[in-house]
Symmetry: C2
């Protein structure tokens, strides 16, 4: 007779089918996971909350998006260091009716969740190594990802220097636009809607991050999870520099005419969270080596690093104003 928690763990293991192999001598089922580090590499560690009500709404977000995104957003931190993923730990707290199979009932949510998680794990080559489960009224998720990067090659937030050019990947604010559509109950499939797809199934920019790190092109880098206006000041603070960005250069989403009264493309691009694009700086010498796109993802120069420790935005009329942090902050009042 198996206990309830053991049954849940078995369902997770079955769904994610962790493969053994030289990179993961011991998977789920022991007190802890074991990993043989690759010689000459540093280990990267990151973890992320993904909580019902705070980060997703079970009534609005499909279970397979919750599975995909809980891993994808943690992987984005690996991308931001220029690393490659190795394995992850899944901490999952669920209501009993979602966790346990009862004669065909109540299995839908967990199966769909695990399906989304499995697709992300395979797509980004990051295998389940362990985790923890418990019962809870609300769905609580925490994901720890372990990655690796050639020793000394990780790209930090602290490497920006005055005169460097500032770049971002992709289009900023799209995920926020997608969230707004979801909230308003837009009856549209993510297949046909770029913004919705970006919100539900973000793609961590792993190949781009690795390319920038391998070629030593990025002096500093971070991922955009809370929005440019909140994240750029963090990069500047870590590097003890400032920044000037140019309004006209910020890649903002196309807001459909029908929504243009509610959404302003620039505000979305500055303050929208959940984009998981990369923000990085490149020396003026190397800036011409950055292509306009990488594997289909636009790379855009949006400004430059300044000695003066302020973050400002140059308007189209030539005046500047401070960039205020208005991105996602769970403790905002």
């Amino acid at each position: 007779m198996k206990a309830g928690e053991d049954k849940l763990v078995q369902r997770i293991v079955k769904a994610l089918a962790p493969e053994g192999g030289p990179w993961l001598p011991l998977g789920v089922g022991d007190d802890a996971a074991l990993l043989t580090p690759r010689r000459g590499y540093d280990t990267i560690l990151t973890c992320d909350w993904f909580l019902e009500g705070t980060h997703f709404l079970p009534g609005k977000h499909p279970a397979d998006s919750i599975g995909w995104k809980c891993l994808a957003r943690a992987l984005s931190d690996i991308a931001a260091m220029g690393g490659e993923p190795r394995c992850f730990l899944l901490s999952l707290a669920l209501p009993g009716k979602l966790a346990l199979k009862e004669k065909g009932r109540g299995t839908g949510w967990l199966d769909e969740f695990l399906d989304g998680l499995r697709r992300a794990a395979r797509r980004f080559r990051c295998m389940l190594a362990g985790g923890d489960t418990t019962q809870r009224r609300e769905i609580l998720i925490n994901v720890t990802v372990v990655g690796e990067v050639l020793a000394g090659r990780a790209v930090l937030r602290s490497g920006a220097k005055a005169g460097d050019r500032i770049f971002v990947s992709g289009t900023l604010g799209e995920a926020e636009l997608g969230l707004q559509k979801l909230r308003q109950g837009a009856r549209v499939s993510p297949r046909n809607d770029r913004a919705l797809r970006k919100h539900l199934y973000p793609e961590p920019r792993l190949p781009l991050g690795q390319w920038l790190a391998d070629r030593k092109l990025a002096g500093s880098m971070m991922d955009l999870s809370d929005g440019l206006s909140s994240d750029l000041p963090r990069l500047c603070a870590a590097s003890a520099v400032g920044a000037r960005i140019h309004v006209a250069q910020i890649p903002s989403p196309k807001v459909p005419l029908s929504a243009s009264r509610r959404f302003d493309a620039l505000s979305l691009a500055l303050n929208g969270g959940d984009d998981y694009e990369l923000l990085f700086t490149v020396s003026a010498n190397n800036a011409p080596r950055i292509p306009h796109s990488f594997q289909g993802i636009a790379l855009t120069e949006i400004g430059e690093v300044t000695r003066e420790q302020r973050v400002v935005m140059a308007q189209q009329d030539g005046t500047t104003k401070p960039l205020l942090p208005r991105g996602w902050d769970p403790f905002r009042k």
Copy 2:
């Protein structure tokens, strides 16, 4: 003007004062933590939920015990592999009033929590490397610990063989007795009460685990977190063996006479959770090499591994009965 989350992170970093050094080139404050693995060692990874209402009661558990225990219980998994701790990631979700300092108000809980966590981090030499924070109505904690063990020397659950002797460290059921005292509002200081101390400030058996692994004495090992009756069958299942334990040999707590009508020492020892003692098997040849105590912690032989895949308990009259899993299971109905 710092955002709320950045302020909270600063308070955590200040309290835990992560020290840099060759073992942790990059601490808190970047997208992820970086760690240089020691050559010739495997990396151990484990994570643990610690949730208000499920694992602790804020009205009953002192904040510094919550801080100590959230790390100590994850470290117990490192002990169970025979490893040594290196660093941890703290995921913390808190009500705003606990997280943010407001003119001297509301700082007590977080300061005490961080104080307990700091004491455990120093005691067990496990430094903060990163984490994630958010706001939440209830206190949610998830801790990931990274440890190391000499390559190939980790002790797994799967190594028990028929004929091996089964040992446990310490006294089983003490922590459960302590929890019952706490629930009943016992007005006693943990300084003067062994059971309460064990429940509030458990000591992961790290030196013992390392000693057993280094000398290749333990063929299999796990930590007792849910109770012997639930955990021993897990070790047996992983090793495809059974076990016979002897009632008379199980180290059970001294139940005060005043509580003896409510608590039965044997039930506490079999089914009580949160002990964080080690359960391990030793070949019959090596069993005499196991001392009666290690650094003041009793080591007790409680039975033997059997070929037949059942877990039974030999009574004092010589009869046996099945050991049913009655330890902690969050999904028990």
